[in-house]
C-alpha cells in the first residue's frame, strides 16, 4: 500500500540460490516498495516474505535483513570520508575486515585516498557496489543498479552480478534495463 492506494496484490514469486530476478514496471508501479518490503523496511499489508537458508526459515524482517545487501537510490556515502575510510566503515560495520581487493574490483583503487565528495556519480555508484562485496551478504537487493553508470560501469556491475549468482547468491533488482544474466523477470 502507498497511502490508501494498493500498489500490487496477488504477487507470488520464488528466487532460488544462483538466480537473478529483474523487477520491471512503470514509474510508481511499486518496484522500490517491493524491494523495501523484502529488506524489511516496509511491512506488506497482507501476505508474507520468507527467506529459506541452510539454517532454517525466517519470515521476521529483522532476521531477513541480516542476509541482505542493499543498494538503494542513494549511495550511502559521506563526502567527508575518503573512499578507503568509507569502505572500511562498511566492512567493520558488518563485522568484517576490509577487503583490500574490493576497490580494485570496482576500478577505484587509484581513488582510495580521495574524499568521497570528489567522486563522480558513477564512481559513487561503484563504491556503493564495493560495499556489497565487503558485506558478503547472499541476497542483493538492487534499486536501479545501472543508474549513473557509464558503459564500462554497467559492464562491471553485470560482471559482479554474474559472479555473485555464480557463487550461489541471489539478486533481485528493480530496473528499467535488462540485467543480461538470462534472468527471470517480474512485471508490476
Amino acid at each position: 500500500m502507498r497511502g490508501d492506494r494498493k500498489l500490487f496484490d496477488g504477487l507470488s514469486f520464488r528466487v532460488t540460490a544462483g538466480q537473478a530476478l529483474a523487477v520491471e514496471g512503470a514509474n510508481g508501479a511499486g518496484k522500490t516498495s517491493l524491494l523495501r518490503m523484502i529488506a524489511g523496511f516496509l511491512a506488506p499489508a497482507a501476505g508474507r516474505i520468507v527467506l529459506k537458508s541452510a539454517e532454517g526459515e525466517s519470515a521476521e524482517a529483522e532476521e531477513r535483513g541480516k542476509s541482505i545487501g542493499w543498494l538503494g537510490h542513494q549511495d550511502g556515502l559521506k563526502p567527508q570520508l575518503t573512499v578507503r575510510e568509507q569502505l572500511d566503515f562498511f566492512a567493520h560495520l558488518h563485522g568484517r575486515k576490509a577487503d583490500a581487493n574490493a576497490l580494485e574490483r570496482v576500478g577505484l583503487a587509484r581513488q582510495a585516498e580521495l574524499p568521497c565528495r570528489y567522486l563522480s556519480a558513477g564512481q559513487r555508484r561503484r563504491l556503493a557496489l564495493a560495499r556489497l562485496l565487503v558485506s558478503e551478504r547472499p541476497v542483493w537487493l538492487l534499486d536501479e543498479p545501472f543508474a549513473a553508470l557509464d558503459t564500462a560501469g554497467q559492464g562491471l556491475i553485470a560482471q559482479l552480478m554474474a559472479r555473485h549468482c555464480g557463487h550461489g547468491g541471489i539478486i533481485i533488482a528493480a530496473t528499467h534495463d535488462p540485467l543480461g544474466l538470462g534472468n527471470e523477470s517480474l512485471k508490476l
Binding site: 529488506a39 516496509l42 541480516k66 556515502l77 575510510e85 572500511d88 566503515f89
Partner: protein, 227 residues
C-alpha cells in the same frame, strides 16, 4: 590510514566522531554559541556581581542545552538523506545500539566540550571555586541526558521538512528536569548547602534518559525507514 578492526558499535561511534570533527559545524558551532551567550548575559545584566553569580547556574545550563540543540537535528538526518541509515539498519548492529552510538558520539563531540568550557565561562559570572566545580559536575552528569532526549526528538522529526524547527519544541520541555536539577545544584552551593541531592536526582534523570532513549529513538527510526 584505515582504522583498527573494530566491532560495529565502535565503528559507528568512531565514524560519527570523525564526521563531527571534519564537518566543522558540530562542536565548534556549539562552543561558539555557548561562549557568546555566556559573554552577552553579563553585559546585559550589568556589573551586579552577586546577581550574576545567582543566575549563573540557570543561564549556563540553558545556554548549554540550546548549544547542544544546534547539532541535534543532524543526529540521524544526514544518514537518512544519503541512504547510510538503510545500510546501517541492515547491518548486524541493532537500531537501539545504533541510536546509543549516535548519542555517545553527540555527547563526546558536543556535550563534553561544552562541559569542559564551562569553568572558563563561570569566571564571567563571578562564580567561586565550589559552585564552579558543582556547575562542571552537573553538566558532566546532565549533558548525556541532553543528547539522549535529543535523539528521541531527532528521530521523531526525521522525515519532516524543516524538522529542526520543531525539534526544540519537542525536547526542551522534556529537558526541564535536567535544567532544574543542574541549575538547582549550583544555587544550593551558593546558599551554603550541599548539592548532593540535586546532583543525585540529575544523575538518576540522566541515567534513565540514556537507558531508555535508544529504544524510543530506534522505534521512531524504524517507522521513518518504512515511510
Amino acid at each position: 590510514m584505515s582504522p583498527a578492526f573494530l566491532n560495529p558499535f565502535g565503528t559507528l561511534l568512531l565514524r560519527d566522531l570523525k564526521l563531527a570533527a571534519r564537518s566543522g559545524g558540530g562542536a565548534a558551532l556549539a562552543l561558539s554559541f555557548f561562549a557568546l551567550v555566556a559573554t552577552l548575559v553579563p553585559l546585559g545584566v550589568g556589573a551586579d556581581l552577586k546577581l550574576l553569580a545567582r543566575v549563573a547556574g540557570g543561564i549556563l545550563w540553558v545556554a548549554a542545552v540550546l548549544s547542544a540543540l544546534l547539532s541535534l537535528d543532524r543526529l540521524f538526518q544526514g544518514d537518512f538523506e544519503d541512504g547510510s541509515l538503510e545500510v546501517i539498519a541492515l547491518s548486524p548492529l541493532a537500531l537501539e545500539m545504533t541510536a546509543l552510538a549516535k548519542i555517545m558520539a553527540h555527547w563526546l563531540s558536543t556535550g563534553l566540550p561544552l562541559t569542559l568550557l564551562s569553568p572558563v565561562l563561570a569566571l564571567l559570572f563571578n562564580l567561586d571555586v565550589a559552585p564552579t566545580v558543582t556547575l562542571f559536575l552537573s553538566l558532566l552528569i546532565g549533558t548525556p541526558a541532553v543528547s539522549a532526549v535529543g535523539a528521541i526528538g531527532a528521530s521523531l522529526t526525521l522525515s519532516l521538512k524543516r524538522g529542526g524547527l520543531i525539534l526544540p519544541l519537542i525536547i526542551l520541555p522534556l529537558l526541564a528536569p535536567a535544567v532544574i536539577f543542574g541549575a538547582g545544584a549550583v544555587r544550593l552551593v551558593l546558599d551554603g548547602m550541599g548539592s548532593g541531592s540535586a546532583l543525585g536526582l540529575l544523575a538518576a534523570f540522566s541515567f534513565g534518559a540514556v537507558l531508555l532513549s535508544p529504544f524510543a529513538a530506534a522505534a521512531s527510526v524504524r517507522l521513518n525507514l518504512g515511510g
